[in-house]
C-alpha cells in the first residue's frame, strides 16, 4: 500500500544542513500496521510528513520515492497531493487539544473533508459526520456534532479526529503519536477503537510512537529508527522480543518492566549524533557497548534471519544482553541509614480551586456564588526519611496540586503539614525559611524550570547564596561538586539552558534542588518529558542520590511502571482522593481498589500480548 524507497530528507537550517532521514526504505503492506519507533530526533515524524507530502519548505525536494498504491507522492503537484491527502490518506496528529479549530463545530470539522473531496453539501456532510462520530464510539453523536472542541475531553477529541481522518474512507491512516497526550485508560480505549476500525475497513496503518509497549499492542511490523536511519525492521514480535540491533536492545532494556523489579534500569550513555555532520561509520557506535572494529565503516541494512538489521556485528551481538547498570559504588558504600521517622506528615489536607465566580439571584437578591473544584480532598500522607513514595493518577486527579500544597506553593484550605517536625501550615510565607531548605522540588518540564537568561552555574549557586550555605569563595567549588553529583562535567557551569539536552537540563534541575541539602524532594513528573533512554538515566540518578544522601521523594508520575520501579510505597490518586496506598509490590501484584485495577490493566507493556485481533480483513 505504502512503499518508501531510499528516502533522504535534508532540512536547511541557519545552523547548517541537517540530514533528518538517510536512505529510508519501508513498506506498509495492505491491511497491516507498520509501527515506526524511535526517540525524539530520530526522524519518525518526518517520515509521516513526507508520506503526506507535507514537508515544510526548508526540506527542499527529498531524494528517493514514496509510492502510494504505485504512484510517487514526491513527484505529484500540489493539487494531486491535496486530493490524495483528503481522500486516500488520513492523518491523526499527536495533540488533540491544538488540532481542532476552537471556533468551528465538531460536526463541521469532521465532515470538512467530505465537502472538499467528495463534493458533499454542508448538510449532507454534517449528517455523515454524525454517523462517523457514532462509529468511533461517541455517545449522543448528534449533540457532540453540534458542540465546540472546548466542550469535549481529550479522549473525545481524539475520537473526533479519528472520525475526521476516516471520513473520506482512506486506504491508509497515518497516526503520529495518537495517544501520547492522553491518559492510559483513554489510550486503551483509543487503541481498541483503532483496531476495530482497521479490521472493519481493511485499513493500512502507519503508527508512529516512542512507546514500545503501545507498539507491541498494535503493530504487525516494527521499524526502529535511530538518527535518521532504519536500524532494525521486522515482525513486531521478533523485533520487540528478540531484538538484534544494539540500539533496539538498549531501548528495550531501558524501559522499566511491571512485575520485574530491578535495582537500576539499563541506560544508553551519550546522546544523538549531530545530524549536520553525521559520523561516517555506524551512527550508534559512540554509545554502543558491543561496538567492534567493523563499526567504524558505514553500516548497511542487510537481511539477517527473519528481519533487516543495520549492524555488521548482528550475528555476534544477536544473543548478547544489554549490560546492566551497576549501582553507584559510592552510593552503595555510603548508603544513608533509613529510618521510620517521618520527614513529612500531612493530615487531612484539602485544597479547593475557585473555577468561576458568578452572580446568582436568590429571590430578588443577587449573591456571589463561586463554582469550586476540590483538587485535594482530605488527604493524609506521610513520607519516612529516605523513603520514596510514588504518587500515580491520571491527569486531573490532583497529584501535582498535592505535591505543591505539601510545599505550600499552593495554600491548603484545611489540614496540617509537618516537615521535619516543624508545623508549616498557618504560618506566613516569610516564616518558612527552614522548611524551604529542608524540602525542595524538581519539575516536569526541563525547558520551563530553568531561567533561560542565567547560566547553569548561576542557577545552582543561587540556593547556596540565598541560604548562606557556603562562604563566598567556596560557592564555585560547591557548584562543581553538585554538578559532579548529577554527573555533569564542571564546564557546564558556563552554559545556558538552551545549550543543553532535555536530560541534562533535568540533571541541573535536580542539582538545584539538592543545593540546599534537602531531606525531602517533591519530584513532579521529572521524567515525563524525556526519552526512554534518558528517562532511565535520570531514574537511576534519583535512586543513587536517595541511597547516598538519604533524601526522601514524593515521586509524582502518570507512568506506573516508572513509579513501580523506584517507589517503596505507592499511593494511587483519583479525583482528589487517595484510593489506595501500600507497599509497591503489593499494589502492583495485588491491587484492591477497582480504579487501581483498571489503571494497571490499561498499561500497555512490551511483554504483554499483542492486541487481540478483530476479524482479519478480506484480501
Amino acid at each position: 500500500m505504502l512503499k518508501i524507497e531510499g528516502l533522504t530528507v535534508r532540512y536547511r537550517t541557519p545552523g547548517g544542513v541537517v540530514e533528518a532521514l538517510t536512505d529510508i526504505s519501508l513498506e506498509a503492506p495492505k491491511g497491516k500496521t507498520l509501527a515506526i519507533v524511535g526517540e525524539s530526533g530520530s526522524g519518525k515524524s518526518t517520515v509521516a510528513l513526507a508520506a503526506m507530502g507535507l514537508l515544510p519548505a526548508e526540506a527542499g525536494r527529498p531524494e528517493g520515492r514514496i509510492l502510494f498504491d504505485g504512484a510517487d507522492v514526491l513527484a505529484m503537484d500540489d493539487a494531486q497531493k491535496r486530493a490524495l491527502r483528503g481522500a486516500r490518506i488520513g492523518l491523526v496528529f499527536q495533540d488533540p487539544f491544538s488540532v481542532l479549530n476552537p471556533s468551528l463545530r465538531i460536526g463541521d470539522q469532521v465532515g470538512e473533508g467530505l465537502v472538499h473531496h467528495r463534493g458533499y453539501t454542508r448538510e449532507k456532510a454534517f449528517a455523515r459526520a454524525v454517523e462517523l462520530l457514532d462509529e468511533v464510539g461517541i455517545l449522543k453523536p448528534e449533540a457532540i456534532a453540534r458542540a465546540y472542541p472546548h466542550e469535549l475531553s481529550g479522549g473525545m477529541r481524539q475520537r473526533a479526529l479519528i472520525a475526521g481522518a476516516i471520513a473520506s474512507e482512506p486506504d491508509l491512516l497515518i497516526l503520529d503519536e495518537p495517544t501520547t497526550a492522553l491518559d492510559v485508560t483513554i489510550e486503551a480505549q483509543i487503541l481498541d477503537l483503532l483496531e476495530t476500525i482497521r479490521a472493519r475497513r481493511g485499513l493500512t496503518m502507519v503508527f508512529i510512537s516512542h512507546n514500545l509497549g503501545l507498539v507491541r499492542r498494535v503493530a504487525d511490523r516494527v521499524a526502529v529508527l535511530y538518527a535518521g536511519q532504519v536500524v532494525e525492521e521486522g515482525a513486531a514480535e521478533a523485533v520487540l522480543h528478540r531484538s538484534m540491533h544494539p540500539y533496539a536492545k538498549g531501548l528495550l532494556a531501558a524501559i522499566p518492566r511491571l512485575g520485574r523489579k530491578q535495582l537500576r534500569l539499563a541506560a544508553i550513555p551519550g546522546r544523538l549524533p549531530d545530524l549536520r555532520k553525521p559520523p561516517a561509520g555506524c551512527r550508534f557506535e559512540p554509545r554502543c557497548p558491543f561496538a567492534g572494529p567493523e563499526s567504524c565503516a558505514p553500516q548497511v541494512l542487510r537481511t539477517v534471519g527473519d528481519r533487516q538489521v543495520r549492524c555488521a556485528r548482528a550475528e555476534i551481538v544477536k544473543d548478547m544482553a544489554w549490560p546492566a547498570t551497576a549501582i553507584d559504588p559510592v552510593a552503595a558504600e555510603n548508603a544513608a541509614p533509613r529510618s521510620d521517622e517521618p520527614v513529612v506528615v500531612a493530615a487531612n489536607l484539602s485544597k479547593r480551586f475557585v473555577l468561576s465566580q458568578g452572580l446568582v439571584f436568590e429571590g430578588w437578591r443577587p449573591r456571589l456564588r463561586a463554582v469550586t473544584t476540590t483538587a485535594v480532598d482530605d488527604i493524609s500522607l506521610d513520607v519516612a526519611a529516605g523513603e520514596v513514595v510514588g504518587l500515580v493518577g491520571e491527569s486531573g486527579s490532583g497529584k501535582t496540586t498535592l505535591g505543591r500544597t505539601i510545599l505550600r506553593l499552593a495554600e491548603p484550605n484545611a489540614g496540617e503539614i509537618r516537615i521535619a517536625g516543624e508545623v508549616i501550615t498557618g504560618k506566613p510565607q516569610k516564616a518558612l525559611e527552614g522548611m524551604r531548605r529542608t524540602a525542595q522540588i524538581v519539575f516536569q518540564n526541563p525547558d520551563s524550570s530553568l531561567n533561560p537568561r542565567k547560566t547553569i552555574g548561576e542557577l545552582i549557586a543561587r540556593p547556596i547564596v540565598r541560604f548562606g550555605l557556603a562562604p563566598k569563595g567556596e560557592v564555585a567549588a560547591k557548584v562543581r561538586a553538585l554538578l559532579d553529583l548529577v554527573r555533569l562535567p564542571a564546564h557546564y557551569a558556563d552554559r545556558y539552558a538552551h545549550q543543553m539536552s532535555g536530560g541534562e537540563k533535568q540533571r541541573v534541575g535536580i542539582a538545584r534542588a539538592l543545593a540546599t541539602e534537602p531531606r525531602f524532594i517533591v519530584c513532579d513528573e521529572p521524567v515525563s518529558a524525556l526519552d526512554v533512554s534518558v528517562q532511565a538515566a535520570i531514574v537511576n540518578l534519583l535512586a543513587d542520590l536517595r541511597d547516598r544522601l538519604g533524601v526522601a521523594y514524593l515521586f509524582i508520575s502518570h507512568d506506573i511502571s516508572v513509579v513501580a520501579h523506584l517507589a517503596d510505597r505507592i499511593a494511587v490518586m483519583n479525583r482528589g482522593k487517595i484510593v489506595e496506598i501500600g507497599k509497591a509490590a503489593e499494589i502492583m501484584n495485588n491491587p484492591q481498589h477497582p480504579y487501581t485495577i483498571r489503571l494497571l490493566s490499561a498499561v500497555p507493556t512490551v511483554d504483554g500480548p499483542r492486541h487481540p485481533r478483530a476479524a482479519e480483513p478480506q484480501p
Partner: protein, 272 residues
Amino acid sequence: MSLQLKAGLLITGTIVILGLLAPWIAPHPWDTISMRTRFLAPNATYWLGTDEFGRDVLSRLLMGTRLSLAMGVSATLVSLAIGVPIGLAAGYFRGRIDEILMRAADVLMAVPPIMLGLLVLAVTPPALWKTALAVGFVYVPPIARVARAVTLSLANEEFIQAAKARAESTPYILFREILPNAWPPLIVEASLRVTYAILLGSALSFLGLGAQPPSSDWGLMISEARSFIDRAPWIALAPGFAMCALVIGINLLGDGARERLDPRLKARIGKA
C-alpha cells in the same frame, strides 16, 4: 545578522555619530546670524542652503540631532522607569492590583498625548527637561502593557515556582527572574517609543513648548520655516527628512534586535 538589523544599525548609527560630532563637523557656526546670506538655496558653500537669518541649515540640522535624540531617549527612559515596575507588578500579582494599575493606565491612555504635554507645559515655563518628562509620562501605558503581558506568561513558568520554593523575596522574583526575560519585547517596544517621543517632542517644539529659539531642534526648525515654505522649502524639508530617516532607522533596529535577543528563538535555531 539580519538585513533589517544591519540597515537599522547603519542608519541609526550614522545619525547618532553625526549628532555627537556635530560641533566639530558642522561646516558653519550654527547660531551666527548673517543678513547677507538669507534664503540661499542649497549650493557648494551651504550644502542645504540657509534660513531666514542666514544660518547654515546643515549645521543647524546636525546640532538639532542632539536635542531630538536626547529628547527621544530620555523620554523613553522615563517611561521605562515608571512603566516596567507597574507592568511587572500588575502581571505578577494579578487580581485587584492588576485592575487598579491597568485601569489607571487606560485613563492615561485616553488623554491625547499632545494635550497632556500642553497641559504640563502651559502652566509652567517651558523647559526641555519638562518636555521630556511629560512625553515620557504619556508613553507609560504602552510600556506597562508590554511588561504586564510578558510577566503574565512568565509567572506560570516552573522556574518562578522554583524561586518560590527557595523562599525568594518578591522583588528578587520580579527583577532578577522575570525582568531579564522580559527585556527582548520591552526593547522592541521602547525603540518604537523613542521614535514616537522624538515626533511628539518635535511637535511640542513646533508649538513653542519644547526647545526655545535660538537652540536648534528639528521640530522647532520646521515650525520656524513654515512661514517661508513657498520661498525656501529646503529649510523645512531638511529636518523633515532627517526625522523620517531616524524613525525608520530605529524601527528597523528594534525589529532586528528582537530576533537576536530572544534566547528561545536562538535555542530553536541552534537545535534545528
